[in-house]
Assembly symmetry: C2
Amino acid sequence: LDWNGTIIPELKEIVGEENVVNHIIDLYVYSRDASIDTGWPAAVAFANTTDEVSKIVKLANKHGFSIIPRGAGSNVCGGVIPAKGDCLILVLARMNKVVNLDLENFIVTVEPGIVCLDLNTYLAPHGFYFPPDPASDKACTLGGMINNNSGGIRAVKYGVTENWVMGLEVVLSDGTIINIGNKAIKYVCGYDLVSLFVGSEGTLGIVTKAMLKIQPLPEIRLVASGYFNSAFEAGKCVREIIRRGFDPSGTEIMDYKTLKAVEEYSGKVKFPECGAVVLVELDGNKDDVEMRLDRLDLAFKEMGAIETAVARDAKTCEEVWAARKAAFPALTLRRPTARMEDVSVPLENLPVMFQKIDEVSAKNGIEIATFGHAGDGNLHPILLWDERDPDQHRRALQTLVDLWHAAIDLEGTVTGEHGIGVSKLMMMPVEHEAAVLELTKKIKHAFDPNNVLCPGHVIPIPGQRIDILEDVS
Amino acid sequence: LDWNGTIIPELKEIVGEENVVNHIIDLYVYSRDASIDTGWPAAVAFANTTDEVSKIVKLANKHGFSIIPRGAGSNVCGGVIPAKGDCLILVLARMNKVVNLDLENFIVTVEPGIVCLDLNTYLAPHGFYFPPDPASDKACTLGGMINNNSGGIRAVKYGVTENWVMGLEVVLSDGTIINIGNKAIKYVCGYDLVSLFVGSEGTLGIVTKAMLKIQPLPEIRLVASGYFNSAFEAGKCVREIIRRGFDPSGTEIMDYKTLKAVEEYSGKVKFPECGAVVLVELDGNKDDVEMRLDRLDLAFKEMGAIETAVARDAKTCEEVWAARKAAFPALTLRRPTARMEDVSVPLENLPVMFQKIDEVSAKNGIEIATFGHAGDGNLHPILLWDERDPDQHRRALQTLVDLWHAAIDLEGTVTGEHGIGVSKLMMMPVEHEAAVLELTKKIKHAFDPNNVLCPGHVIPIPGQRIDILEDVS
């Protein structure tokens, strides 16, 4: 395609001279996301309005290039990098306004580029918040959260992004702008198109506006911690806490290696010697939360905790969550390469999943530290290695594949909240029956017959190499 | 088609001689559901296994007949009656077993014919329940709840059926049996096909098994009632209760006419003179619920309640809910014809919706009694008339159309939890943009290219009359 002579000038006409870049340095920046995969775009455009997005999609159809929408680029599965050439990265990060706050109906309408934490900072003075809370909430955009159906710490009580999206404005693959959903909380007029777009990773349409349900802030949120001899025991404890009806708004686990990394990273936090910690947040009315917190502390001890701690004020709770959210950044500093995984298993199999992680780590000689949203059965094992060392790299990729299979063998999935992108394509046929893959392709074809949007994501394109071991074995 | 000579014998070979009927009396029974619409099937078959369902779907493709799956037949939108000839009603009510109870993972797997209340009766001794609770829970089947994405009283806190379905076994339109979803709570491997089937009213596939998330029973559930001078005031009160973070597990309204009907029906219940009652259920730990119940009672008074009542024990609460669930049966006795509507509006517009209902009723001279799930903005106005009187019937249908438009004018929908079926097809193009209808058709075509499943439901077929006023105006 003639990018320099035709496409780029036409793109510049749509979004303005300064909003299209294709210098090699720019392209390098947008050839990566937070995964370990890479892919080179032909150009990068920054959109400011839905109308611009629609025009660009029409241009893509005219010239035959493809488009990948991108927010903060914090995707960890290669979800915002090209899988083939002639691809435009369409950055929506500047479309970051609150369009409307409707406090009468507990609804906020936003553009897709708004950062999750910024939305909550905006809502707080009104006494509301948006519950889904990825650990990357300081960076990740709502558009990305919608495309990936992101979860987070509070998902154990409040569900994932899909549960909070009431309506969407979407630019379809031919440039048509549609509005779906309704301001009524319950709504069954026709198929649930909103839930189909949520989690479709940009392959079915480009989300340009979202109508979100918001929640009154609870009177109080407090956290109790239980330190256990092993991640196995910690996993059992979490299941029991759910079963007993504690109704926690967060149930996190960090293993020993993660705790050590956080200690080093922070330079001041000091954890007790243990195999793993369970962090449980309770939210609600003050008296009730304090009563349940005491019960929880007792329950930890009953279940064999070697030490417990209760954070009884907001400041201490913030410190606990800051430590948890520092886990990934802390671990990335330990080795040149860090890959965050996202396995999710039925609660019963959570303790065994920790054992499998250890086995896979030992077998391949690759260090893994694990934390995650244990109450959902969703763990983030972090693989640490040096990708410049071919032997280590080969072993690391084998470790990934072994981990994925372990999760599936335990009746789980390779992805609880991060998605497939280009990184996990090889596991789609392992998790899904052939007829289900066929149905997935039919949906994609119905929405995007010319494969304009994110080709090679979620569904492979002909010739695409999906076996991550192919290069190295 | 040759039903008697070919199709019926072949059906009998699949499900057994006694499980296929086509006597005129049988067909009459299955030509109706709980709506006011009718449609004649060619035959009725009762399936006992997924394999039988698959074989019947293959037979339908071979001979060119269509299929409508049916559970209890309690659909109120013509969702289980034929919209065209040569249609088989496939009754799944006998596939009503619990396939597996997995208490380790808080999951129950059921066949689609199981009745909602039966499921909860089964779960109760284990300390669990399935939260979605249509008022028809004594009759309605899980398959119907899934097809319609049913809500109910607890939806205000626990969401609708979609939020509790983790996986499905579905027979596709060509007879292929697929399994979708995962036992992991969080799951984003590919498109959310489960949410697409849920609420698709049987038009995309036939659900033959469902893996459901279940919830530990709360320690206690108690109900407070506030009696107000008008439904308008009651509507305002409900919104305020949500805003103040009471986190109710039920927020129902019944208007004066409904209360009078329930009094007559029960013969013993007696309500205070009022315009409407608000019933609020709180669930959770005993101490907390009791404390919040007292606060709620005060809040009712603050908001102008002319009388309040607090049910402090399980028996009294049951009586309150029995009265609420008697509302529809009680009203149906008042006139020969009763039609339950399902409008849903943003919370802010709930009080105004009550006024619109009164206006529409007065304009057309048709009695309407209203109750519903006010905390979701979802109301069930019940239209009462005598359909044998042509003039009344014409005015009743006009009332329906007026009601629907009123809900849409208030930024709501014609259906919060009952669906479109054949009864509300005319409103699909009013609620949806043309491009959205087009997308809906594309999905249907991708899943069911030969229109084997529920033709003329949700999406009209060529020549289908969808304007309910056409015959009578």
